[in-house]
Symmetry: C2
Subunit: 241 residues, 2 copies
């Protein structure tokens, strides 16, 4: 079996990558992937000349800047330093590579949020925690380039959603994950007495989503991190202050 990224062939139109992330599956589909993750012993054939995670990071940056459709394989080859057939063998076609890059992005943010978004009633106040959350998002929205790139999901995935079933599903999963995460957070906050029972956690979560969306949009339109922090602060104060 050579040059057959079977993973993408099978799961193409399912919410693979979301599940893959949850299950911790590798996001490379070459033949070396399985054995490499199963055991530390080096696999059989010629070793891969690139670091898959680094490639995904670099690919993400191109997609983030130019969008999915306007990013050519030549762009990706140039940015990653990996030539075309290797990209193909390792990650599947352009769409699969995009999905994996976006999962990379999603997971990176997800891990950051894990360290911050936790309310057990003993740590900082709700507004402090939410403020920290916004700082993280503002950081990713403005810190990728000299020109702020905004939210990768809203700025690139939304555009493709109607034409690419798999991207639409990833988008839906991401929104759902976001909602659930914040709903749980606010429920916890209520049980630990950090938030009055008057508030509806679901609605608050959607509110956070709206503010986040606002920040992501304004960043892409050129707003600086300082401007965004000001906006986020105003919003947070209005909601909880």
């Amino acid at each position: 079996m050579v040059h057959q990224p079977y993973e993408t062939l099978i799961h193409k139109s399912e919410a693979v990558d979301a599940d893959a992330m949850v299950l911790g599956l590798p996001d490379v589909c070459g033949d070396q992937a399985l054995e490499a993750s199963a055991c530390c012993k080096r696999p059989r054939g010629r070793p891969r000349a690139y670091d898959p995670d680094l490639v995904l990071k670099k690919a993400l940056h191109v997609f983030w800047q130019k969008g999915f459709a306007a990013t050519s394989l030549d762009d990706l080859v140039e940015a990653t330093g990996v030539n075309r057939p290797s990209l193909y063998a390792g990650f599947g076609d352009k769409e699969a590579l995009y999905l994996k890059s976006m999962q990379h992005y999603r997971q990176r943010i997800s891990e950051q949020l894990d360290t911050v978004l936790c309310c057990n009633g003993q740590g900082d106040s709700l507004t402090t925690i939410v403020g920290r959350y916004f700082d993280i998002m503002i950081g990713t929205y403005t810190g990728q380039s000299e020109h702020p790139l905004g939210c990768a999901f809203m700025c690139t995935a939304l555009n493709e959603a109607p034409q690419h079933e798999s991207i639409l599903e990833m988008l839906q999963n991401t929104i759902e994950e976001f909602d659930v995460r914040f709903e749980r957070f606010f429920i916890d906050a209520q049980t630990y007495g950090c938030l009055s029972a008057q508030h509806d956690p679901k609605v608050l979560a959607q509110m956070i989503g709206g503010i986040t969306a606002n920040l992501g949009v304004r960043a892409r339109a050129g707003a600086s991190a300082d401007e965004l922090r000001l906006i986020a602060g105003n919003m947070t104060r209005m909601l909880f202050g």
Copy 2:
């Protein structure tokens, strides 16, 4: 002077179209455009076989669905029924046509909002007016196709902004116009006693922007008009109720 859409050649990287809309200039650049708008007498050459506004509307629909980059001129020719050189002569290149289509979209919404977004203290309550605003937006976000297309600006213009100066500027203008409009609305509401002086109109306007963004995103991800109305209602109640 034949087949020279001079308008686009000159103003390419300025915020033409935004100004053009404000000034009421025509969004066709063929040679018949000027005289046709100046006087009702028919211009000199062969008459145009298409209705410019209808073409923009049809072009918008394609851009809205597929995004700017993934929309080919063949798509546009097929959707509008106007062949390639005529599109070119009438509207300029693909980017110019996209900009004009988006201005069409923006103006259409703007006119709808004019009829609703007015607070003189004698009509309906603030929540009623805001509710009507959201109904309009939800209508445009879900009413263009069997599958909801979301917000055309967020879903397509955001994607292109870093690569196309003119699209970025249009985006900035649109955001600015939105903010100003709602800030004024809330200031009026305060002067007429419909809104307590505690609220900051600027922050409230950004809040509305956030909620709107949220709706636009969720629509593109497949949310129905009913779901969106529920969300908008919850948000509105949290802010003003």
